[in-house]
Amino acid sequence: MNAMNTVARTILPFPCASNSGRRRSLRKGLLAALRVSSSPVIVDVSGCCSLNQEDIDLLLDCVAQAAGRDTQVFFVAGSLANRVLLEVTRISSVAQVFNSVTEALAYPHMSAENDAKAQTANESQERWGA
């Protein structure tokens, strides 16, 4: 996984691939990124119009991974329906959930590193989407 950014924040798109092989690879990459990140991580779920059981499992894995390493993880729901699911699964009880990446980046705890955000987001998007 080379989607990491050593600057203060990393934005990682949540894998929504329908192809199971690709999905497995993206899942592995996301968890690896969370494992090695020393800065707060924003997991962007807004690309997924709906969440299935595997998606929920992966989101819970993300939370567990971050908690185990004391890494801050934030989620961008992207839609109210996704936000409801994040609340129902209690993910929002252990990690901050935002409606958009912009909103997440404006969160006070992260505002110090805002200047690097756009570049990070773009790089991550390109790599995950490749």
């Binding site: 969440l51 299935n52 059981q53 929920i56 109210l80 409801v84 699911l85 129902v88 699964t89 209690r90």
Partner: protein
């Protein structure tokens, strides 16, 4: 068709933007109570003997042709109740008001507007005006002002308000079950694990299973035949009948119907089923043939539910292409 000696008959229409059978807003129980049944009881107190039920979903209006047909049958007065509200209304008082005013149409309304209850005279029936409500207002007729308890039940939010009021004695409706402790009611055959936490006011409907570590309440209504799995919390929410909720969930300010949840805060619907968080529990087909006969031999298309409530078989009426289901009270 028998007609009450006072010449008054009653008809009920369902107003719902969604399909009648899949609707959860009007035909689903509220704390085990059937809103339609509560209206029928009020109609019965009027001494009315004939009731027609329809599931006309176009607008909840009564079709012009249907009104004309009733007028031809010699009906003097028609009470139309659209199932869009729960109102603790004395229909006798409405009838008295209507007769005193000599209005062709009398609409009942409260401070928030029309309640979907109206009385039509022979004149209005003969005219067969489908939009009788608006015409009554347009003609400057004085509506019947209802000042008692009323709650619209067409939205999940209003429905939840009714649940809250009924659980806190804010209205006359009471949970259909046994009170097992302060402000906690359960229906027949409920199974609660030892470690379940019940925070009143709360209601758990008949035959529902609540598994270990779950928390129900406050202000929660889990209706009949549901399963709430281990560790799940249901708070300030309603879970409609035959719903399964997976372990470890937090259902707060929501209305869950099978695999779907409407969030009352944001007014959005989330699909729980693909995420494996909730689903519809299939009804056991074997239950229906064992039902007792209808409580009144003259009630067609009605049978008793397992919990003793009357179930109106609109499917039978619909299959027979009959727009109305006639019930003798």
């Amino acid at each position: 068709m028998g007609i009450h000696e006072a010449g008054t008959c009653a008809a009920g229409a369902f107003e719902n933007p969604r399909s009648f059978y899949s609707s959860y807003s009007t035909r689903m129980p509220v704390l085990g109570n059937d809103i339609l049944q509560s209206w029928i009881e009020r109609v019965r107190k009027l001494g009315v003997q004939n009731l027609w039920l329809t599931s006309d979903s176009r607008s909840g209006g009564v079709a012009r042709s249907a009104l004309g047909e009733l007028a031809r049958q010699g009906i003097e007065r028609l009470l139309v109740i659209k199932l869009k509200s729960y109102a603790e209304m004395d229909l006798t008082d409405l009838l008295r008001f209507h007769c005193e005013r000599h209005n062709p149409v009398t609409e009942a309304q409260d401070s928030r507007g029309q309640l979907g209850v109206s009385l039509l005279d022979r004149r209005a029936l003969r005219d067969g005006n489908e939009a009788h409500e608006s015409s009554a207002v347009a003609c400057g007729q004085i509506p019947y002002q209802f000042r008692g308890y009323a709650k619209r039940i067409l939205s999940a939010r209003e429905r939840q308000e009714l649940v809250g009021d009924a659980l806190t004695e804010g209205c006359a409706m009471r949970p259909a079950g046994t009170q097992i402790r302060d402000k906690v009611w359960v229906g027949e055959g409920v199974k609660l694990a030892d470690t379940v936490r019940l925070a009143g006011p709360t209601y758990i409907g008949a035959r529902t299973i609540v598994r270990a570590g779950a928390t129900i309440g406050p202000f929660a209504s889990v209706e009949s035949d549901c399963v709430v799995d281990c560790g799940t919390t249901v708070e300030r929410s309603t879970v409609l009948p035959h719903t399964y909720l997976a372990p470890g969930l937090l259902i707060r300010h929501g209305l869950v119907d099978g695999g779907q949840m409407e969030d009352l805060t944001w007014g959005t619907v989330a699909d729980l089923e693909p995420a494996g968080l909730g689903s519809r529990i299939q009804r056991r087909e074997s239950r229906r043939p064992t039902l007792r006969p209808a409580p009144r031999e003259t009630v067609p298309n009605a049978f008793s539910g397992a919990d003793g409530s009357v179930v109106w078989d609109f499917a039978a009426s619909s299959a027979a292409s009959k727009p109305w289901l006639q019930v003798r009270l």
